[in-house]
Amino acid sequence: MNEALALLVSGDAETWGTIGRSLRFSLFSTLFSLLPGIALGIWMAGRESGPRRAAVAVVGALTAVPTVVVGLVVYMLISRNGPLGGLGWLFAGPGIVIGQTLLALPIVASLVWSGLARLDPRFHETLATFGVRGARRLGAILREGAPVMAGALVAAFGRVTGEVGVAMLLGGNIRFVTRTMTTAIALDASMGDFGRALAFGLVLLFIALVVNFTVHIMRPHER
C-alpha cells in the first residue's frame, strides 16, 4: 500500500504515463461512440416497429458481450492476414481504440434509448400539439435528453477504462506504447509486483466512484 501511494504521489513517470495513456484511449473511444451511439439510441426510442424492436434486443445483447470476444473479432480484422491488416493498427493505439469504441457504442445507444423512453409522455404530446416535426423535433429531444446522453457517455467511459480483454488482445501490453492500467495490473500481479498493481487499482477505483457519482447526479429530475 505504501509503495502504491509513493508511486502515485511522487509523480513516477512510467506510472503516470500509463495512467494518461489509458485515459486517452478511453476518451477517444467514448468520443467516437458519441455520434453513432446517440443517433442509434434516438432512433430506437422512436415509434415502435419490427426493426426497432429487433435493434433494441440486439443492442441490449451486445452490451453484455465479453470484452475478449470483441477483442478477438477485431483482432481477426486488423491482423496481418486479415482484411484490414495493412493499416498496422494491431498492437498499437488505434487497435485498442477501435475495440473500445465497439464496446462503448452499444452502451451509449442502450442507455440513451432507455432514458428517452422514460421521458414524460407529456413532452411528446406537447411537441405534437405544437406541430413540431423533423429537425426541430430532433433539436428538442437533444435538449431535453441532454442529461440522459451525458450520463450514457460517462457510463461508457467508465466501462472502457476498466476493461482488460480488448486492451490486452489488441494492444499487446507493450511498455510505453499500449500498456494500460488494466493490462499493467494483470502483468504486475502475475509477477508479484503488487505495489504498482495497487497504485493502478486505486486510480481505477477512484475513476469508478467519480463515474458513478456523476451518472447519479445527472439523472433527470422528477417533474
Binding site: 414524460d120 407529456r122 413532452f123 404530446e125 406537447t126 405534437a128 400539439t129 405544437f130 406541430g131 428538442a140 435538449r143 431535453e144 441532454a146 429530475h221 417533474r223
Partner: protein
C-alpha cells in the same frame, strides 16, 4: 347567426383496453363547437373530460366515429396544429428559462419581436419580469400560467385546457381566469375541463356536463 363551426363530433365512441378489461370512456353521438365560444366540460373524475379533450386535440384516435376540425380528422389536421394549443393538467415546461418556454411557439419572428411577444404574454398572465426564471423555480400555479403565456405567444386562437386550475392557488386561479377572459374578448375559442363548478360558471358561456362518458346536459348561459 351561426358563427363558424370549428369542431364537430359524429358517432364518437372511445374505448380503452381490450378483452375483459375493455372500458368505454366516451360515447357522444353528436357535438359541435363554434368559434368564439367559451366551453367548459364539467363532471366527476373519470367522466371522460380529459379523454374528450384529447380526442378533440387529435392526441387520441376514436375507436368509432369521427372527430373533425374544420372538416379534417383532428388526428391529422394541420390547421388544428397551427391554430390550437393544449395545456396538460399538470403543466409541462421544457428544460430552460421561462422566456425559452414562452417563446417556443413563436415562428418566423425577429429576435426583438419575439422578446416583445414574450413580455406581452407574461403580462397577460400576471408574470411580468419572470423571463429569466428557471423552469424548476416555479410553483404549480406559476408553471400553469407560463404554459398559458406560451399559448398566447403562439397566437393560437383555439385553447384546450385540461383542469387549468388544478395546480393553482387562489391568486393563480384568478390570474388564469382573467387571462382567459381577455383571450375570449379577443375572439379566441376556449375549451376546458374542470371539476370546479364556480370557475366553470365564471369563465364559460356553455357548460357540458359529462357522466361516465355521456353528455347529460348541455346549457348555454346568456352573455
Amino acid at each position: 347567426m351561426n358563427a363558424e363551426c370549428l369542431f364537430s363530433v359524429e358517432g364518437l365512441t372511445l374505448r380503452y383496453g381490450a378483452g375483459p378489461f375493455c372500458r368505454r370512456a366516451l360515447h357522444i353521438p353528436a357535438l359541435s363547437l363554434r368559434r368564439g365560444q367559451s366551453l367548459a366540460f364539467v363532471g366527476p373524475n373519470g367522466s371522460g373530460k380529459t379523454s374528450l379533450l384529447k380526442v378533440l386535440n387529435g392526441l387520441i384516435a376514436p375507436s368509432e366515429g369521427r372527430a373533425l376540425f374544420l372538416g379534417d380528422e383532428t388526428r391529422s389536421s394541420p390547421s388544428l396544429r397551427a391554430r390550437s394549443v393544449y395545456l396538460h393538467q399538470h403543466p409541462w415546461l421544457f428544460a430552460g428559462t421561462v422566456s425559452y418556454n414562452v417563446a417556443f411557439g413563436c415562428r418566423g419572428l425577429s429576435r426583438s419581436e419575439v422578446g416583445a411577444r414574450v413580455g406581452e404574454s407574461l403580462a397577460l398572465v400576471g408574470l411580468a419580469g419572470f423571463e429569466r426564471r428557471s423552469y424548476r423555480a416555479l410553483s404549480g400555479g406559476e408553471a400553469q400560467r407560463v404554459a398559458l403565456a406560451r399559448a398566447f405567444a403562439r397566437g393560437a386562437d383555439v385553447l384546450l385546457l385540461d383542469e387549468p386550475t388544478a395546480s393553482a392557488d387562489a391568486e393563480s386561479t384568478g390570474r388564469i381566469g382573467s387571462a382567459l377572459a381577455e383571450a375570449a374578448r379577443r375572439g379566441a375559442t376556449i375549451i376546458f375541463s374542470t371539476h370546479e363548478e364556480d370557475f366553470a360558471r365564471a369563465c364559460a358561456t356553455r357548460l357540458l356536463r359529462l357522466e361516465e362518458g355521456l353528455i347529460v346536459s348541455d346549457r348555454e348561459s346568456g352573455s
